[in-house]
Assembly symmetry: C5
Homo-oligomer: 338 residues x 5
């Protein structure tokens, strides 16, 4: 840190951008690349990321890497990727370096090797465990939502140096991904460019897949219990005791609030209302209105309008209560999925 | 990254597949391999993985590794595995590289060495802590389920280069695995092939074991409490107070819902209903039906059909209630285990 | 550790401070640096830190690094950052070393390289996942608070050796940060000095941004439920039963306490009261006062002052209760945001 | 991976076992070793492991390591352990390698060095943070249990090469272990053999200690609350209201179930019943019997046997209830600790 | 592992202790050292540790490290710490090695360098994230406790080789530590000796600081809610209904038990009773006594001693209840803080 012998400063400005222009190859070198997902180990919707085990393969040609097979005594040479990168740097051999653009944590390479033939054809294979950001998750239709997952491999080298080409017979997803909650639907690859670590545009290969959810969990833990609580509320209407109804509605309100807290831990703190949020808010409102309605009935009864109270209540009990709840669900459904 | 002197592109296409054909040995080299599990440190059924400490051993012969014992001054040479792999690569000596196919996290080698005799007989031993995916968990019969666990060692080299052979006297499981919940039943090894990191088929060695659960936990935390709650419900029927029964059934419904939430945290969000899910749903339904039944009785009593209500209720109280619950359990048992 | 051949001690005192004076360059070497945040992966307000993925770029000139492009056969040389630092140390070439001053955990470099032109223009780029302390979080206005986040890059070398200069066209934040809860408002950079690891002042570059919260979460989980609980309390006043009111107020007190516990887990244990704390304490007080008030009314009724009790209660029921609650909220609002 | 020049296969079988026989020394080399635990940082009874900071020391003699002190200019040479192991391998010098047999996670060496005198006396010291399996935990008497902890250091080299000897003046435990819950009782060392990573028997050094628990936590969180709940149940008997008792017993049952869930998170899912499990099950049964008993009394009262009911109840209230509970505790105590 | 050419055993015993005596310097070499804490990132009282970011500086003189500045072309040389340690070992140059004695986990060096002048003055600086044990935490007065934190840097080399000296102008704590819950009071350094990794006494430098807690959290989450629950109990006494009081006391008992569970998660399972434990136990007892008292009153009323019951109750209601609670708190306060 202190090893600073007086050094004349070079005041002439320079920039990565102009430097890059000077040394880039005539045409960008094509790198055929593929991504193959063998496991989905986790989908964390609260942190909006997912973890996969993915095989990565690049293939490109580099004249400087040709060698004499006889002399070397082998038709192929190989190095671990980190040794290859050091070797290439020392020998000033250009080599493509890709990182997962949406990586969120330290990744782990189970294996990462480069091997090349005497003609200078280079192949890089790696098997990586990576946690990737999924910033495009949209939970508005939760839990009936379909999400899109991106595995984005971005060149560190600017696009004037290396560009990705597709390796379609390699890319894809395995058959035992080990993910229970999600059903993977479509899988495809995309190639475009994005701002790289240098600040310049770099080539990008994306493996994209869409998935929606198995819904059994949501039915058994959320919808069936909610339905039963509402049904029990309804059944109690037939007892025609206003105070009792108020108690039940109050208890239901507490139950709904606890429910809502339990459920809200599954998602991040969003800037919008999901279908499930809207449903819970409707349940809150329904319980609160039930209290107010029965207080009103009770006061009518106390103030000698018992007959009128009973008449109103007959309609609510026999068709109003279920009708309103069905209407709520239909309206929510239309506005979220219509 | 920018070290890119203008390099003529080699436009001729090449592929790993054809390259592999050119350089493979006449017959694949056999690698005798064994897996010995010394500890099961965790079975995480929610994430569908398990963590083990496993000893790995390979044995193979490589003529290029022969040396003159006199000259070296020792009958055996040894290197750490990573140094051996580097050494083999530099010397263009083929060496088998295996990774756990279903590894999910960064693994940890407590120790990993290679040693070889002057005749070129090579032995690799390693002791690894590894978290492995268990994508085949099937919880339909939970918690009375039997699961199969796979420790899958996959060659990175294609099967035309190296093939696994069994080392049966080495493979197996230790006697103090340290796993309390599961009872390991059968253990065996399998050899087959699977898609490797290169995209080509590679040889694969699997240590497989099956296990089922100690059930004490499930009896003391789930089944006995459920049984007691239902018994208390039943006992209350003998008091012949309809409103009181409604309150108890309502409270039970809330208790069952809370129960269900507590229990559901143990498993992933599955795409099917487990035995325990089905049992809980039956309990929900039973509580809801109890409410409806007593509301009906109460209305009959109010509307001057008290005698009829009492007669119906006698049957329910004295044999209907327990009979229905026994029937539910038997039916569920038959459909899940029949 | 024991390799301690008898060595004569040099008793003459020396100090880093005087050493530094001797060897510093005539004027500090300028390092043009930029920070570009591509992801915010987590904001942990309880631990007062946040995790980002950030691109870092330095540019400086070093005459000792010039080389003959012809001889080397490339216009640019490059090394991984750690190799470059070793190389610079061995060659006694001064090189700037920066660390994130407010880093809290092991960071992870997805990539970190240095490359330099034959004229000695050096560029360092890195892509880092870093968890940074946010000691300045002020939660007094929580959850309506605006927070300031600092990404602080501090030179290890004292400021007499290297000083940061801004690289404004590079610095900034990406468009898909992946943070759902916070809305980033302003972003800017600052350059100043701070105590470095040597104990001397060092140059510091900070990327600063401010953010406030999406409030939907707080409305659906906290404010709406609180409002409904208070509304239900109010509705029950109209039933004019003092004991019942006491029960409801007591139950509400328990609900508020549980609420408060659930909510308090989001923040660290602060040395001051937040807006939400104050609101919850007001709710506690309101429930306790309600109990006392109704006990008083009840005793008045028992002691034959029923008429007076009813008159007082009319005012409370018809305007007092809501008025007091509105007043509480307004007062709190003024004292926290006025 | 593909670097596979056609190599003639050596079909002659060989085995590690026979290899080992050939090259082993005349008599095994003794390694004096000690283990000194300075901290117990965690005892995780759920995962059945514990984490310690431990100092390790080996001492052995190796003629090949002698050197000329004059020439080297120092009486002692030293290397980091990993450098020493590499150095020993390259020079074909035998060196003992030990790993913690029951290690469960990546360990961390705060420091690990080897130094040796010119006479070839070698000393290895290390300071390691290690999480060790404790598969022998037996929770039957929980929370009044005494557990045995093993720190097991196993040679990788077979026992025909190196054997451990004790270093009793070094081994032991420090005085500020930092463990609050457990009281360490006895500490001793054991030397035996066990299957090593090679599959052959290897020498093993174990530091063993026993510990039991501070019980204040269990009294204040579990036993006192349970006792008070039972006492309150008993007190309520004196009110002679059967329905009220049923409600209290039902509420107690729910409280016991919740209690049981809270408590069960401390231990793994065992294949046997602990003392605390048995106590909780007895409490469940007691609450359920109380319900049935009072339903019976109530029916007797309704069916005009009120006098008889009162007579039975007098006995239960005045001595039966406490007597039964004392009997339950005594019986459990005898069967678990008798 | 098997590289074991037959080597004659050196049966002559030797020991580290005698070895150390032979090679130690005439007088121990002084190492001026300082510790400067820049962040406290976590205080985990349950695990009894705390995590800090700390700058470490050593300064010492070593004649063997002098060099010719002209020849080297720089007045200062520098290496990363690990390279320096390797270099020193290879050159048999004694160098001090310190580790944090109470370190509990893998630490992370943000930066660690050594540089030295041509006169052989050596300076080592490092910036480390470290989790340190705090085995001396004493929670008896919790949450009104004051705790002492030790950052203990221990030499690996015995004290006859190197001894620490203070660097007071460097040591200390920064101003933005980022710890919200604790208020740091006093900071000082201590130098003494302790058993090192070799088993011999080594020099030790400790940075010590004391801290107590902000109490707002404890007031808003614990004391105010407790006070309100007790107040509500008291208010209910004025209603003069014995059964109602029993119900309220029973509910309070359950609330206190739940409270106690929620609160107990903050601390380890201690072998003693904290102030808060004692307070909670007093609340338990108070609730249980209240039940017994009211059962007694009720029986008196039933058995025609209503007048006497009322008279007793008047005293309890109007001054006994609050007096007893105030007395409890005062007594506890005196015995814990008196």
């Amino acid at each position: 840190m202190f090893a600073c012998a007086a050094s004349a400063q070079n005041e002439a400005t320079f920039s990565l951008e102009s430097l890059s222009e000077t040394v880039k190859p005539e045409t960008p070198i094509p790198v055929r690349a593929g991504l193959y997902v063998t496991q989905i180990t986790d989908v964390n919707q609260k942190e909006e990321n997912f973890t996969i085990v993915v095989d990565v393969r690049y293939e490109w040609s580099e004249p400087k890497l040709t060698f004499d097979a006889e002399e070397v005594g082998a038709a192929i040479r190989s190095l671990s990727t980190s040794d290859f990168v050091s070797f290439a740097r020392e020998s000033s051999i250009p080599s493509p370096v890709g990182t997962f653009q949406n990586l969120q944590r330290r990744s782990f390479d189970k294996l990462s090797s480069v091997f090349w033939s005497s003609e200078g054809n280079v192949i890089h294979v790696a098997e990586t465990v990576a946690t990737l950001q999924a910033p495009d998750f949209d939970f508005r239709q939760y839990p009936f939502d379909t999400q899109t997952f991106y595995v984005r491999l971005l060149m560190a080298n600017p696009k004037s140096f290396f560009v990705f080409e597709d390796l379609p017979e390699y890319s894809g997803m395995g058959s035992t991904l080990g993910e229970e909650e999600w059903i993977v639907r479509d899988v495809w690859t995309e190639i475009d460019t994005s701002r790289g670590v240098t600040g310049l545009e770099s080539s990008r290969l994306s493996l994209v897949f869409t998935a929606d959810r198995h819904l059994i969990y949501y039915w058994t833990r959320i919808f069936v219990p909610l339905l039963l609580l509402v049904t029990v509320s309804w059944a109690n209407l037939f007892l025609e005791e206003y105070r009792r109804r108020i108690d039940i509605a109050g208890a239901n309100l507490l139950a709904f609030i606890a429910f809502n807290f339990a459920v809200s831990g599954d998602l991040p703190r969003l800037g919008y209302v999901t279908f499930l949020d809207a449903l819970m808010l409707a349940m809150f409102a329904s319980a609160a209105v039930t209290v107010a309605y029965n207080v009103m009935l009770r006061r009518m009864a106390v103030e000698h309008h018992e007959e009128r109270a009973k008449r109103i209540d007959w309609h609510v009990t026999y068709w109003g209560f279920p009708a309103i709840h069905i209407l709520i669900v239909l309206t929510l459904w239309r506005s979220f999925f219509g």
